[in-house]
């Protein structure tokens, strides 16, 4: 009998101990940070950065990469309410950053920004993307300019040159079509917005800005004209089938499509496929549809690297973010991926991308915030589904615009 009671008490004690956790929790001093990210394919590059940071500042970093962004975002949001908190995490600027800053979850990095701008490691022009109510949050993990990557061998074979005007671009597409080559890549999954933002930025960038802030409607004539222009290109047979699931890197390499529009980070895909800039592929800035605009519109994006206000070791996380902006870190980061850098001191090896970065820095282009960041999340979700429908059934464009506008009306009625 006594044995039974002892056993029962023992079970209870074990359970209590298991439920109670460690009561002696103290602020941790970390030497290794975990970087959660939704860029699973970049793990190799993050690991190299971790090795470098260990040498430079005595803090190593280990990446935990997700490939499904919805799952990733749900995890990060859940971490706000639990003790499993990332030291560092990637996120998105725009509405998504505003959402989590509003909940006071993100560490203020104003001091890091001030110091980096003073040292010439970050440009003042970039600050607005990271500023909410006068304070900065996160630092740029990457920046990217959007343009057209093209298969140089196909261009050479058909005697084509990167176009300087929209009409030239259409002529290039027409020549390719006559030679049984699909000119452009597009997709019904995730990046279904690319051609919408590109055509709109090149037709009426002011309308694009008004649409992003709820001052214009998706059913306005200007937006309808964008969809009609897009439909015109699809109907002309310039695009590959949007249901083709071939990786866009392979699409370009194999010549399934001669041109793929993406951010400069797509250069990483080229590097991974042993393609050589200038020999195998090239990059050009997409000309405006509306030639009378004073500047060529260029889509720009910047993805943030953040830490939490309640990070396990806030000092270590801040130290890491500070290091990330330095020329040493950025030279490595842009070098291994073959991409551009947020640090103006870093020289870009790729000639075409280096020129674009230089021109963008000198104000030659009108930089337009990427649709993914510029559009509030609920409207974006509806729009991605809508454009996905449109690329497979181009005749439905009015129905698509009306559906997106319905979501926009609901959102802006409570977010003015």
């Amino acid at each position: 009998m006594v044995r039974s009671r002892v056993a029962t008490l023992g079970v209870a004690a074990i359970l209590l101990a298991a439920c109670g956790g460690n009561g002696a929790e103290t602020a941790q001093k970390k030497t290794e940070l975990t970087l959660y990210n939704d860029k699973g394919a970049w793990s190799k590059y993050f690991e190299e950065m971790g090795a470098l940071s260990k040498q430079s500042i005595g803090l190593s970093m280990k990446p935990t990469g997700y490939t499904d962004s919805a799952q990733y975002q749900a995890f990060i949001k859940a971490s706000f309410r639990t003790d499993v908190k990332p030291d560092l995490f990637t996120w998105q600027t725009g509405g998504m950053l505003q959402e989590i800053v509003k909940q006071k979850q993100v560490a203020d990095t104003t001091a890091v920004w001030q110091e980096a701008i003073k040292a010439g490691d970050l440009s003042q022009d970039l600050a607005p993307y990271y500023t909410i109510d006068g304070k900065q949050y996160c630092v740029p993990m990457n920046v990217a300019y959007w343009g057209m990557f093209y298969n140089k061998k196909i261009f050479d074979k058909h005697g084509l040159k990167p176009p300087a005007t929209w009409e030239d671009l259409v002529k290039v597409a027409e020549t390719l079509k006559r030679n049984d080559v699909k000119a452009f890549y597009h997709t019904s999954v995730l990046f279904s917005f690319v051609w919408f933002e590109q055509i709109m930025a090149g037709m009426d960038p002011d309308l694009y800005d008004r649409l992003s802030t709820g001052k214009a409607k998706y059913t306005d004539p200007g937006v309808v004209a964008v969809m009609e222009k897009w439909k015109e290109l699809i109907d002309a047979g310039y695009f590959i089938n949007p249901g083709d699931k071939t990786d866009p890197g392979d699409v370009l390499k194999t010549g399934k499509a001669a041109m793929v529009s993406f951010g400069t980070w797509f250069n990483t895909s080229m590097t991974q496929r042993d393609m050589k800039a200038g020999a195998d592929y090239g990059f050009f800035v997409i000309p405006n549809v509306n030639a009378s605009l004073p500047k060529t519109s260029m889509i720009f994006e910047s993805g943030p690297l953040c830490s939490l206000a309640k990070a396990p070791d806030p000092d270590a996380s801040t130290k890491y973010l500070k290091w990330w902006t330095t020329a040493e870190a950025q030279k490595k980061w842009s070098g291994i991926r073959g991409d551009v850098s947020a640090n103006p001191k870093v020289t870009i090896e790729d000639e075409a991308l280096g020129q674009v970065t230089k021109d963008a820095g000198s104000g030659e282009y009108r930089l337009v915030n990427r649709y993914f960041e510029a559009t509030p999340p609920p409207i974006l979700t509806a729009a991605l589904d809508g454009f996905s429908k449109f690329v497979t059934e181009p005749g439905t464009y009015m129905e698509v615009l009306e559906t997106i506008q319905k979501e926009a009306d609901e959102y802006w009625s409570t977010h003015r």
């Binding site: 039974s4 029962t8 089938n241 949007p242 999340p377 589904d385």
Partner: protein, 280 residues
């Protein structure tokens, strides 16, 4: 005799760990989801009470209508294909010499997970994929509705056929031989033997197979998510995919929970009505 009082006094203590696990991992999340279905919640700010607004939206949401329609195709298709064909393969191969070897190929795909299955079939069904090349057609199987749902249903059949066949074979093996022999002596054979003797004797097992398939088809998610993500647009969504998209992609945890509650009610009700009819 002396142990009984001790066991009696502490009997709740012994089941407590299991009860706590069930309560914590099954009942609590369900109650929490039911509560969230009555709120507006974006996963960040605290949930705000919304009453029945989310449930009202259910009946006014064209996407939900599409999802419900697709889910219905999945349910009906599952009964005809993996279950119906499973029964056919079981009956045809049961009496054959070496019949087990005929069934082995049907069993192999069952080793794949739903997501793995979809990954394998993605390059086959996508535009320009293996199916296009083999059939010499230019069809995008995963794009137009309802073809995309039907294409995914065929993939699902490819995987599920084997396990249903196996269950039906077990059913065939477990039925008593005497009534069958008696029926044969009375001159019954072929379809009549199956329809009037074998089929009624297999009824308990059929109830289980159909019941499991019914619930599985109502909560179809992984294969659709990996192959089409519910698109293009939202034309191949099932109720489970809509639940996931609303919750985790659109961050509308309140409405996503409402879809979850509705799906639970539909699955529970369908199972209850079906099983009630079967065990009468």
């Amino acid at each position: 005799m002396t142990r009984a009082p001790i066991l009696g006094r502490f009997r709740h203590g012994y089941v407590a760990p299991a009860a706590l696990l069930v309560a914590g991992l099954l009942y609590a999340p369900f109650v929490w989801t039911a509560y969230l279905s009555l709120t507006r919640y974006d996963g960040l700010a605290p949930p705000e009470w919304a009453g029945l607004a989310n449930f009202a939206k259910l009946f006014d949401d064209p996407v939900l209508l599409t999802s419900a329609g697709n889910t219905l195709i999945w349910v009906a298709g599952t009964m005809v294909l993996p279950v119906g064909l499973g029964l056919l393969v079981a009956v045809l191969s049961y009496d054959l010499k070496g019949g087990a070897w005929y069934r082995v190929p049907f069993m192999l795909p069952y080793a794949l997970s739903g997501a793995g299955l979809a990954m394998v079939w993605s390059p086959v069904l996508s535009h320009g994929g293996v199916a296009n090349l083999l059939l010499g057609v230019d069809t995008a199987f995963l794009q137009e509705a309802p073809h995309n749902t039907i294409a995914m249903l065929l993939v699902w059949t490819w995987q599920q056929l084997g396990v249903n066949t196996l269950l039906f074979v077990v059913g065939l093996q477990s039925i008593p031989k005497a009534p069958i022999e008696a029926a044969r002596i009375d001159g019954a054979s072929g379809w009549r033997l199956f329809r009037y003797v074998i089929w009624p004797l297999m009824r308990p097992l059929t109830a289980v197979v159909v019941g499991l398939a019914l619930v599985a088809s109502l909560k179809t998610f992984d294969i659709v998510w990996v192959l089409t993500q519910g698109g293009p647009g939202r034309n191949s969504e099932t109720l489970a995919v809509t639940m996931y998209k609303e919750t985790f992609v659109a961050s509308d945890y309140g409405y996503g929970s409402t879809v979850a509650v509705a799906l639970t009610v539909v699955a529970g009700l369908a199972s209850y009505l079906y099983l009630k009819r079967q065990v009468r």
